[in-house]
Each structure stands twice: as structure tokens, then as C-alpha cells.
Homo-oligomer: 204 residues x 2
Amino acid sequence: MDKQLKRMATMQRIQTTGLEIFYQKGYHNTSIDDILKELSLSKGAFYYHFQSKEEYFISIVQNLLFRKVYSSLIEPIEGEEDPLNKIAACFDNALETAEHNFLDYGFVLSNFITEFNGKNPDIMNYLQDILKVWEVNLVTALQKGKTDGYVNRHIDSEAVATYLISSYIGIRTLMVEGNGKMLRYKYIQQLRNYFKLIEHKESV
Amino acid sequence: MDKQLKRMATMQRIQTTGLEIFYQKGYHNTSIDDILKELSLSKGAFYYHFQSKEEYFISIVQNLLFRKVYSSLIEPIEGEEDPLNKIAACFDNALETAEHNFLDYGFVLSNFITEFNGKNPDIMNYLQDILKVWEVNLVTALQKGKTDGYVNRHIDSEAVATYLISSYIGIRTLMVEGNGKMLRYKYIQQLRNYFKLIEHKESV
DNA sequence: CTATAAACAGACCTATAAGTCTGTTATCCT
DNA sequence: AGGATAACAGACTTATAGGTCTGTTTATAG
């Protein structure tokens, strides 16, 4: 195989498997050997490609984790239609995926935020950056919804975005207990309920 | 000092300090020595009172953690008045405490749930038990609110309780980033907004 | 007052995990 | 083809942390 390709392929493999295991067991509770065992690779290979466990993790956050959050929670809410419907559908879809996990480990991003808070400000910043992108996109979608006549002009878009993110983080944390189907149903029901206040009213 | 009292006092001290540090640094990232250093105690003292780190942590969860959650989130919502107002005031009060932490570490209970999920089913059960008590009490308060004419009879109390817990867990996770004051304001604003749909309507 | 057991001190053992280093295999360039 | 270097293997080093064990102090009972 071409050297450049081989290099990239190996790095990708190490990163992808790393994210999976970090997600399942947490960063501190996962050893480099755990990951290498899964890949049948050696310490030599790992430290040839990455300087340290931390630098390695940051590369995962900036690449794989960001893309994962973006494709599942941010990209789906872009578009011309009613943003409230798109958000509800997007959340429902994300929860459906979680529901079908045999053993669910929660929302990757918030898990890491919980784990690194107060311990590693550097990594925290990278994680908060992803949150920020999500929030900005939600606010943008809501504002556009106002001009397009889907969303009530009097609501505070930033507050709604914060409330949405909060509830999503929370329900994903709750879903780890196992009763995913029921929790998802209840959550989406109340989310749509909440949206009744947010959507545009014909009559003042 | 009396032996029994001394024993209890020492155990209490070890547990109290343990919860503080576990909360700040997480269970796996906290060593027994970290806690003992803070207390100027020795390994001998610790293992005289507790069998293992795990058994020790479980005793903290069942005693201190449960009481902490109960007194801050469950007890305040009991009473005869409008449950929605009590819940909002209770949440606001809890967030105010969090807001004034110099460095906030999130919601203790959900932090531990995130940390132990998929790793220690035993501890997970004890944590889930506390969540369950909270949920049951919220549902009870809402149901009582229906009979007392404060809460809309057509709402699904269990779904509302789930949604409330979700949003609270989420906002506490978000607040670790530091901008607590603003987040608290936004959250409570939207919570009260949400309650408009839940409260009893005079007109059908 | 003293024997006895509780309460505690701290050196020690052991396992784990991050990171290093030297040696080996695979790939590329000329 | 063959030297050079990238890519990887795996033994080794070092630090940390859970837990043990033996010895010492302190309090209570008789």
C-alpha cells in the first residue's frame, strides 16, 4: 500500500476505535493498550503516530467527534421548512439510534464534558467549541423560522436553544438506564408540547 | 472521646470529604490518598473503617448523596401550594447555588451516572434508585396539583416529570462552562414558559 | 492501674498504565 | 537490487493507586 495512505489508514483506524472505546468506558478508564488490543497493534505503532494519549484524544475530538455531532444534530436542522418540525424530527431520530443500542452510553459530547470539567481546561475548550457550534446553529434556525413565519417572533431564540440543548443532554443521560423506548416517547411528546408555545400564532 | 462517637465522627469525616472530592474529580480520578491527605489520616484508618473503595463509595451514595438530592430537589416540592410554582422555585434555588460556585462541577448525581454507566451495574442501581425517588415525587406532586386545580388534568404527569428531570440534568451540565448566571436566567424563563401549557386552564 | 481491644500510622506489596527505546519488517527511491 | 527511511513490534522503565500487614497509640473495662 502507498505509504501516505497506509499512514492515514492506520491513524484513522486508531482514532475510530479509540472514540468507540472512550465513549463506552470513558477517557481515564480506557488504557492505550485496551485500544491497541482491539486493533492488534503495538505501543510502537501508536506512539509513532501520536505524541501522547492527550494529543491523541484531542485529535479525535476535533475530527471524529465534531463530525459525529455535526452530522447527527446540526446538519439535519438546516433547510427551508419549519425549523421546529425539523428539530423535533432530528431529536427523535437521534434518540431512536440511542434507543436501539443494546447498552447505551449516553450523549458522547456531554459525557466527555462531565469527565473533563475541572480537570483539563484545554480539552474542555475543544468540547465547548462543539457545543457552541450546535447552539449557534439552533439559534440561527429559530431566527430564520421567525422571518419565515414558522416561529413566534416574541420568543427568546437563545433561551429556547439553551433549553433544547439542556433537555436533550438530560434525556440522553436518563436513557442509559435502559428504558429507552418509553423515555423517548415521553420526551418527544413533551418537546412537541413545548413547541406549541414557540410556534407562530395566527391570532395575537 | 467516647469510642462509638469517635468511630462515627471519623467515618462521617471520611465520607463527607470523599463526596466533595469525588464530586470535583470523579470517582476513578480520585485516589484514597487524595482524600486521606485532605483529612491528615492514614491508609490504616481508612481500611479500618471501610472494606474497599467501592464499598466506601456506595456508603456515601446511600447516605450523603441521597440526603443531598432529597433536601435540595425533593423536599422543597412537597406542600399544599401550586406544585408548578414550587418546582420552578426549587429549580431556581438549586441553580442559584450552582451559579455561585467558583468552579462548578455539575449535578453530582448525573455526573456519577455518566461515570459508572456500563462499568459498575451495582453502583448504577444505587444511583438510579435516587433518580427514581425524585421522579416518583415529581409525579405525585403533579397529580396532587391536578386534584387541587393547579395543574391541567390532561397532561401526562410521568412525561412531564421526565422532561423536567431531563432539562435539569442538562442545564446543570451546561453550567459547568462558567456562564451560570445567564444560563440560569434563560433556563428558568423557558421553564416557566413551558409551565404555561401544564397549568390549569379556566377556559376549555 | 493495667490488660485488652479499638483506632490509627505508615511501610510495603502488587497491578496497571503511560511513555521510552531498541530492534525488526515493509515500502520507496534511485 | 539495495540502501534509506517509514511503519511497526514488544520488552522495559517509571509512577500511581488499591490494598495488606505489622506496629503503635488511645480509650475503656475490671
